[in-house]
Symmetry: C2
């Protein structure tokens, strides 16, 4: 079959893949366990048991990294949210979710017959989530005798890459005695998020989105008092489900050794994102959507100039992604020109300068009618 050569041959701007790039150490570790049933070497009991050694090491590392007392593995964030909700919520319960939440948060709740109330964001152009809106919504639900059973905060949303101050939401949660879940899919692993320090009860993280892990793995981290409440599939479904995750567990454990280093670069990552935004906006008719200055690497640009350029081309919307690929730049959604959704994470300043120069060239050529 075809070998994927993306990491070696292209600058990849795809916002979903930025935090999931694997480092050499992780690839080596995973490769060494690639043989079918290689995990069997590590089993300490009947072969369907979770391989103890690696898993326990990983759990210990994650507890410290997340400030959590209990760790439950899933295939990803959406499953981790669902795992939590099915453990602590009941049909007809109400929850509050931020206005920039991913649809899968709402989906998980609705699957359980839970009513979802969303806070508003601030709208064009920065679409910010104001922690105070949680308070307003709680009060209004309480008046209707629908006190919410859970607050969910998307720490960084996947559209604008806005960062919300989780500690402020945690204070509100504490005041009203409602547990708080942080959806940290795009934050934890890029930087350190400690639910103990923040005062949140739960966190969900994504191995393949922000920890550079192959195979798909997520986790739910919970504080002490909630551990026994979680209806973990690890308890019920051992023989059927667990071996499937071995490669991903190996990958996440290998990755953790490098994650602790990489979170030290987070300030530079954010500076680099703002530096790139400034350069791109200087091209004119390209405008950042979402908060400014940015506090994260996920970037959404409003790009009418690119839409106009593409409209004149034979391939219309598909012109842009194809043209950029000729320049070795990939990760744009084909057909999308009105907005540009990218990530600068892990790319060097000289790579990003090259991206900027390439856009400058395309726009300049167009203005000269070439």
């Amino acid at each position: 079959m075809k070998i994927r050569n993306t990491p070696e041959d292209y600058i990849n701007l795809n916002p979903l893949q930025a935090g999931g790039r694997t480092v050499a150490e992780t690839r080596l570790a995973v490769n060494s366990y690639a043989d079918g049933y290689a995990g069997y070497d590590q089993y300490s009991g009947p072969f369907f048991q979770i391989p103890k050694k690696e898993t326990e090491q990983l759990i210990d590392k994650l507890k410290i990294f997340l400030g959590a007392d209990g760790i439950f593995f899933t295939h990803g964030v959406r499953e981790a949210k669902y795992l939590l909700m099915q453990s602590i919520l009941e049909n007809n319960d109400s929850i509050i979710v931020d206005g920039n939440a991913h649809f899968s948060t709402v989906l998980a709740a609705e699957k359980l017959g839970v009513k979802v109330f969303q806070t508003k964001n601030s709208g064009f152009p920065d679409y910010k989530i104001n922690p105070k809106n949680y308070e307003t919504l709680i009060e209004s639900l309480k008046k209707k005798n629908q006190k919410p059973r859970l607050l969910v905060l998307t720490q960084v949303d996947g559209t604008y890459g806005n960062l919300v101050d989780a500690a402020k939401v945690a204070l509100i949660a504490k005041k009203h005695d409602i547990p708080l879940l942080l959806n940290s899919a795009y934050l934890s692993g890029r930087t350190k998020v400690d639910i103990g320090e923040i005062g949140a009860d739960f966190i969900v993280i994504s191995g393949h989105k922000s920890f550079g892990v192959p195979g798909h793995i997520g986790a739910l981290g919970v504080s002490e008092k909630w551990i026994d409440k979680i209806k973990s599939p690890d308890k019920d479904a051992k023989p059927w489900d667990l071996p499937a995750r071995y490669l991903a567990i190996t990958g996440l454990l290998a990755s953790m050794d490098t994650i602790e280093k990489r979170v030290g670069n987070w300030d530079e990552e954010v500076k680099k994102a703002n530096w790139f935004v400034e350069k791109m906006e200087s091209l004119g008719d390209i405008k950042l959507l979402g908060e400014k200055p940015k506090q994260h690497d996920l970037i959404l640009f409003d790009t009418p100039i690119l839409e106009r350029i593409s409209a004149n081309k034979r391939k219309k919307g598909y012109y842009l992604a194809e043209k950029l690929k000729e320049f070795g730049i990939i990760g744009l959604r084909p057909g999308q020109t009105k907005e540009l959704r990218i990530s600068t994470y892990g790319l060097t300043r000289s790579q990003l300068d090259y991206v900027y120069q390439t856009f400058a060239k395309l726009i300049k050529e167009e203005n000269h009618g070439i």
Copy 2:
């Protein structure tokens, strides 16, 4: 974390790992997709959809390889058996299973409240399954008005490595109009098993046991008339489950390119197994259990001589595995000396001769009281 160096540094006799060793092409392909969300490149719709291109290619290849009309992926054979049983069986139904079936077959049925009847095997020393016993058991159940709804045949069992003639069981199944499932975990992928030619209705296969695939993946293959009966999790659980399998799907697809070649060596694999059995039995007080001549590479020896040797050592049962490791031979269950359960699959004759010479040396030293 620690890098597993088994494939490079040791002769591995572990019977569970023999058919799952990955080839270079598979490792390269999987490695190229190791980045988190790399599968995203291949999605043709919303990101939670199954990645079309690779999956469709893989399904087409498997249909031909298995002679099946429908393919459903799972995490392994036990899940594939469960998927089938929950689709076509009901509480209180009866099924017939061979006397050498893995406990997970029985477990899957019992989880659904299905009654399991097992055929006898022929007992010491060859423990063979006689297809005729299915007929006897069907007749006796029919008399009690408990006509079985499914026959399950473990084509090659994991203990003795006995091969049963599936075509003979298929004739009995046809005669009584009962569908037949082949558990081919240890056969398909080592050699070609075609349910159309055999006349079976279903087959379950294991990527990590017999197709050299990293990540854990199994599949259920079904004949035309059953396709719509399968309550596939692929239909119900898309957003939650599918992305988790991408690395394994990539691995199995990469592997299929080499599987078609390797099944051509099957006759030599079986000859080699018999050659090795003969050498080991020549050491005296080592005796093959299971059918003779062998038709498969999974081998169980009765080894009282090794038990006696170990009994005299300080480490008792653990002596043998540790001693062999010094000679670069691994894969024995630590502590186990009364019986030796190994596989010769994929090892060269000169490697196996070295294994034989090593056992000969240990036994000779013992006899001389060294």
